[in-house]
């Protein structure tokens, strides 16, 4: 009996303390809301929001609901995160490999980049790009075209828009190519296991992913044309570009700083991963007669990836969470649109902050669950 008591008492004390603290908070919240005449509830989500958002991926204006505003913010957050992750990964891998280069200059250059961007607060970098660097860009009427179609101005980057005909055919052709590649990979693996023959999967995949969409242009009736942005005068001194797609400077500053900052951490992950593969592995692989390409593909990369992927996923998560700094430069992301404007208008602090936090929480936990699953899949089965 005594033994059991020793186990139960500390737990009981902790749980009671937690319950008491939460009870205290809830009790106070109820009293406070009663005093201020606020009622708790998520009904406001379907009300008309009556505020506008500058940059939105889906159709939105003041007449839509708060829920729609939430979606706008969420999509903008996801947009920044996805672009940032792609650029950061490319840059990070290049810099990480460069840090292992035997070339002294390249090595030091990469090290300088990492040490420089990693030790400056991200918020400061965002401010620097947005308030200092991008403000030095020319006005729309003075901007020179890059390759004749891109216009980088103080009001943002203008790129030509695609106008598709029969876009669905093109889309399906890509989907078909991807499915075909997966089927071929499975088949190739089976063939290799059974007969020891190797099928050049990589070349076939490259061919498929190019040829099928190309066929859709030639046979499927897919057409494409560009809409180049054109300068338009609004008033005597006010110019604007019309047509094409415009990326606001907030988006550019945010993706630039996020990817430059996160790339330094990814570079360190990549370096650690490649260094983590023992030298003996490479030598052993070479001694059983694998070609250098095969050594890289079959021996080094699988082991390096096992070390690289978990911390890199963490960095992706960090980037997604850091994208909430958008609020500081008024890029309409989830925090600014929902926890900023919507909160000011409705005054429903508890509901809105909890929804925002819950969204980020869901995002992070789902990614980390995915990562755990992947980790388990690729873990060395030895113990």
């Amino acid at each position: 009996m005594n033994f059991k008591l020793k186990d139960i008492v500390p737990q009981l004390i902790t749980v009671t303390a937690v319950v008491l603290v939460f009870g205290f908070f809830t009790y106070n919240a109820q009293i406070n809301m009663e005093n201020r005449g606020i009622d708790f509830g998520y009904g406001f989500l379907s009300q008309e929001s009556s505020f506008d958002v500058q940059f939105s991926l889906i159709e939105y204006d003041g007449s839509h609901s708060y829920f729609r505003a939430y979606l706008v913010g969420l999509l903008n957050t996801i947009l920044v995160s996805v672009i940032g992750i792609i650029i950061a990964t490319i840059l990070g891998v290049i810099v990480g490999v460069a840090r292992l280069s035997p070339n002294y200059l390249i090595n030091k250059f990469a090290a300088f980049y990492v040490e420089f961007f990693r030790n400056i607060p991200l918020l400061l970098q965002i401010f620097f790009w947005y308030f200092a660097a991008l403000r030095a860009l020319p006005l729309p009427q003075d901007a020179e075209a890059i390759f004749g179609v891109f216009f980088l101005t103080i009001k943002g980057l203008y790129v030509p828009a695609f106008i598709w005909q029969n876009f669905s055919v093109f889309f399906y052709s890509i989907v078909a190519a991807i499915i075909a590649i997966i089927v071929i990979r499975i088949h190739a693996k089976r063939v290799q296991e059974n007969q020891g023959k190797q099928i050049p999967v990589f070349l076939i995949s490259i061919g498929l992913i190019f040829i099928l969409p190309l066929l859709s242009f030639l046979i499927g009736g897919v057409g494409i044309s560009f809409e180049v942005p054109v300068l338009k005068q609004l008033a005597t001194t006010s110019f604007i570009y019309e047509g094409g797609v415009s990326l606001p400077p907030e988006l550019i500053a945010l993706t630039l700083s996020l990817s430059l900052y996160t790339a330094t951490f990814i570079a360190e992950c990549v370096r650690a991963g490649i260094q983590g593969v023992g030298k003996g592995q490479k030598e052993a692989a070479a001694s059983i007669g694998l070609t250098p390409n095969q050594v890289l593909k079959l021996v080094i990369m699988p082991q390096a990836l096992r070390i690289i992927i978990p911390p890199t996923t963490n960095q992706y998560l960090n980037l997604t969470k850091n994208s909430s700094l958008a609020a500081a430069i008024a890029y309409p992301d989830l925090v600014l649109v929902f926890a900023g404007t919507a909160l000011m208008q409705t005054g429903k602090a508890i509901e809105i902050v909890s929804i925002t936090m819950f969204t980020y929480l869901t995002l992070s936990i789902s990614i980390s669950l995915l990562m755990n699953w992947y980790n388990k899949k690729i873990a060395i089965q030895e113990k």
Partner: protein, 480 residues
Amino acid sequence: MSKINFLRPDKDNLNTFLYLGSFLFLISVLDVFLNSFFSLNLTGFLPGFLSFLFPLILGFVGLYFIRIEFSGIKQLDLLNKHINTNNFNAVLSLLIIFVIIKSLPPILSWFVIDASFAGDTKDVCTGSGACWTYIKVWMRRFMYGMYPNAEQWRINLSFIALVLMGSVGYFATDRFKKYLTLYYVVIYPLIAFLFIFFFISGGPVFFDFSYGIIAAILSIILGFFIPAKYKFYYFLIVPLALYITLKYFIFFEEYIELGKLDGLNWVETGAWGGLSLTFIISFFCLIFCFPIGMAFALGRRSNFPLIRYISVGFIEFWRGVPLITVLFMSAVMFPMFLPEDFFIDKLVRAIIAISLFEAAYVAEVIRGGLQALPRGQYEAAKSLGMGYWKMHIFVILPQALKLVIPGIANTFLALVKDTPLIFVVGLLEIVGMLNLAKTNPKWLGFAMEGYVFAAIIFWIICYAMSKYSYNLEQKYKTDR
């Protein structure tokens, strides 16, 4: 290898190739150098595209000529080994050299040559370079925020005192070394808190420094006559008792006017700011997040399921949300959870929020260290008859913490870099002050200088911290 020896140096004509190669390489560097520093174009007679690529081609050919496995000349071999291993590397090296040469003049002229340093108005900043006058004029604001100029010595004095007291560890003799942990974990934070609370804020005084100092000195003097056995209990009880007796039963008003703090003006936390606020916040969060994180790391590895679940929930919650939403919560949601007449200062709220947030990260780092220890350590400690706390304090944690020094340092670095986010609750540390100064109508258009200045400061702080953690890691590295 039956390669044709086309334009490659060999034993006989090594010198010829060497001279030719070095000459071409130097010419290419010189071309870029003259072009960027003196805007002379040696190759202006060539068509535009070729003129642009000319140094690259020349340098490439030069490097190709001097590339040789082993020449016996030390400098040449080093050069070949480091920047000239193959064609691809040679091109990259050349590009980097050219980029450095090209980018030096504009950077130098912006920073130093064309920059203006003198004067104290905007009018002196006419050059194309940086306007460091702006930084000079606003320096006090960037360092101390809205803290009144006349009172800034209080911040300086507190920081100097805290740094001095923090460096005690370096001078401690072996006899006192064992108390250092206690000192740094309990006493030092307490003193720091008292300093910042009473001295910097000049807050409502419930601790009288004058009596406190007298009580401390008296108890130390008396302490010499106390047998070592009772010293611990003596210092636990007597100073406090002395302080209370002095303050409430014996009044030496005339003797202790000097130490009175009533003369200090109350400066509310809204006026604090600048770099000093960055330091204050980082300091307190650093002190608070470590024990909290340690507690949750132990909780997560506890045998009691309920404690484990609560710890996991806590850690995953804070790690899953961005800091900015946490600060939003502390700003708009947290007041709702407190009784109406109960008011917590926004600086304190921000410090609590950041501490809890970073504690979750510290907890994960420490958990990594705990997991990395072999089971044998736990078993050995248990077999010696140690209980849970004894085992962790004397055996497990010292080893685990040693293992995770880099991780902890990274978390602390992240903490320092996260401090600018407190603009959410309306506090302006250095980055916030920069944004404020930037919008001042008298000083428009100097955003770049401000951000560069802050970037340099943060870079120095963070780089020093990371180097220090590296040294610490090397110092405590033990073979296992």
